[in-house]
């Protein structure tokens, strides 16, 4: 009972925050609402005793991805009028995509309901259950190839992003740290021996 109340409370905040992301005029407000939505889904995962997933969601999405989003959005000059015109133009497409997703989700849940009895409450794990260990023992044994392929794809993304943005501009002055560190006084200072001059 208590668990159900908590679940609906956080689920309601999650849905409200998600709606706020879409309807908020100010993109910075949208991002902060998205952060709130992430936090609430993390709480729901915590209630399902998936603490590793919950904390990693906060760590990766809230702590890194959304910070970069905020970084980009803050630097945009927000033109609300233009955004409004765009809203009407893109609305039919957006509604169509949303409808397809809703239909798919409902169908999935309905199918799962047909196949097996869905539990109405979160599964209670025995004491001493460690979600992190359980995930790790599956991830590095059964799904190790999928895991490694995902890692390689991410590496590829990093390399290609850097290659796309790296360009050689002519006339750019670059500091060569290794050369600066390796420099010796003999390279820079020339000691000139000369006889003392006589006073004329």
């Amino acid at each position: 009972m208590f668990q159900a109340i908590l679940f609906y409370f956080y689920a309601a905040i999650l849905v409200a925050a998600a709606l706020g992301v879409v309807f908020s005029r100010n993109p910075v407000h949208s991002i902060m609402l998205l952060v709130l939505a992430f936090f609430n889904s993390a709480i729901l995962w915590l209630m399902a005793e998936a603490e590793f997933l919950a904390i990693v969601l906060v760590l990766v999405y809230v702590g890194a991805v959304m910070v970069l989003f905020l970084f980009v959005v803050m630097m945009l000059e927000v033109n609300i009028e233009a955004a409004k015109r765009g809203l009407i133009r893109y609305a039919p497409l957006a509604i169509a995509i949303a409808l397809i997703m809703v239909v798919e989700l409902v169908q999935l849940i309905w199918l799962r309901g047909q196949l097996a009895e869905l539990p109405g409450v979160f599964v209670a794990y025995p004491e001493g259950y460690d979600n992190t260990k359980a995930l790790g023992s599956v991830l590095y044994t059964e799904h190790v190839y999928a895991f490694e392929i995902a890692a390689v794809i991410l590496l590829l993304a990093i390399v290609s992003a850097i290659t796309l943005t790296m360009r050689k501009r002519p006339g750019l002055k670059v500091q060569k740290i290794a050369e600066q560190v390796a420099v010796r006084s003999e390279d820079r200072v020339r000691i000139v021996k000369m006889k003392s001059e006589k006073k004329s």
């Binding site: 902060m32 590793f52 990693v56 809230v62 910070v67 970069l68 630097m75 979600n131």
Partner: protein
């Protein structure tokens, strides 16, 4: 103990349901830790001013109370009675909420810090991840403060801070991967237990490079000198909190120092054995009457280690000039991340070859 408390109070306590008893105890623990952290923050400011004062051949605050010991309270009172000015073109809601967003994670992270072998508010499995997640959330306060102020200087400070914190968080996370490999657990209490047995068993011995990476990244994450470009008072006035005054500024100040104490405590727990005594293996000391207490671990040792790291914070601030921004980025991405990755490989090899008592992977 129980005969000190009147009988009827014990009866009332026993009559309460278990959940209420639990909530009461946890609330007391939270109060205990929060008040402790805030007091520690107050005296850190005094400590800092005295340390830097003596390093620069000055005296530092010595007028309010004996040796200036009441100076923090005078400062707090001054900040409390000042006016909070909200810039007219600022985003009011975000402007007010930003200091709170930076203080809350700094205090909430203390929930999983074990202060001695029994006292911890929340003894959770993934404690290390929790700490990492909360320290990374603290950056929102800084970024939003910079944006909501509607000021160029504040905005520049926020930009610098965001890029810097994201860069150093990765190095910090990799350094902690090394710690969790050595300890074989994400629970902070277990990490301290894995270092039992004296100085040679502390993780600073096998993980010395990771210790330096973690500590310097901690400096950068808290925006302290020499990485304080987010404030950079000689370049961008005061950075992200240039528009803040009074209590709102005090909260930013509190958050910064609470984060410093937190990083000090974490470094002590991860690399210097937390509340464990450095003389744990010298059991012969127990026979000496005066020195017997040195062998046993406890909060005192953790406190001493935190004080040492706080001193190092101030020492570094008084010693080094501010880093140039591109060099900060270079240090984070091109030096620290490769160092941590290489050392994780070295550590894996050590665990595989059963070198040292720390190889948690072996068992």
């Amino acid at each position: 103990m129980s005969n000190l408390v009147p009988g009827f109070i014990v009866d009332i306590w026993d009559w309460l349901p278990a959940s209420v008893q639990y909530v009461t105890i946890v609330t007391w623990k939270i109060l205990y830790v929060t008040v402790g952290v805030i007091l520690a923050v107050a005296y850190s400011t005094y400590f800092e001013r005295r340390v830097i004062g003596s390093m620069q051949g000055r005296i530092g605050p010595n007028r309010v109370g004996p040796f200036g010991l009441l100076q923090p309270f005078a400062d707090v009172l001054k900040l409390l009675i000042k006016e909070v000015i909200i810039p007219s073109k600022s985003n009011r809601f975000l402007f007010i909420i930003a200091p709170l967003l930076s203080l809350t994670p700094a205090l909430a992270a203390w929930a999983v810090i074990p202060l001695n072998d029994t006292f911890v508010i929340a003894d959770i499995n993934a404690g290390l991840l929790y700490v990492l997640a909360l320290t990374s959330v603290g950056v929102y306060g800084v970024i939003l403060a910079g944006w909501a102020s509607n000021s160029k200087y504040a905005f520049l400070g926020a930009m610098r801070s965001a890029a810097q914190i994201v860069a150093y968080e990765i190095a910090m996370g990799f350094a902690l991967v090394g710690v969790l490999m050595a300890a074989g657990s994400l629970n902070l209490g277990d990490i301290v237990d894995a270092q039992a047995g004296g100085v040679s068993h502390w993780f600073i011995v096998p993980l010395l490079p990771l210790f330096f990476v973690f500590w310097i990244s901690g400096l950068a994450e808290t925006n302290r000198a020499p990485f304080d470009v987010a404030e950079g008072e000689s370049e961008i006035v005061a950075g992200f909190h240039v528009e803040y005054s009074g209590v709102a500024f005090a909260i930013f100040f509190l958050a910064e120092y609470a984060n410093m104490v937190l990083i000090s405590a974490l470094t002590a727990i991860f690399f210097l054995g937390g509340w464990a005594s450095p003389f744990e293996s010298w059991t012969f000391l127990e026979d000496v009457q005066v020195l017997g207490w040195l062998v046993h671990g406890g909060f005192g040792w953790l406190f001493a280690k935190i004080c040492f790291f706080m001193y190092t914070f101030f020492w570094l601030r008084a010693t080094f000039p501010r880093y140039r921004y591109d060099q900060i980025m270079r240090l984070g991405w091109k030096v620290f991340i490769p160092v941590t990755i290489i050392w994780i490989f070295v550590e894996g090899a050590m665990a595989w070859m059963h070198v040292g008592p720390w190889s948690g992977l072996a068992n």
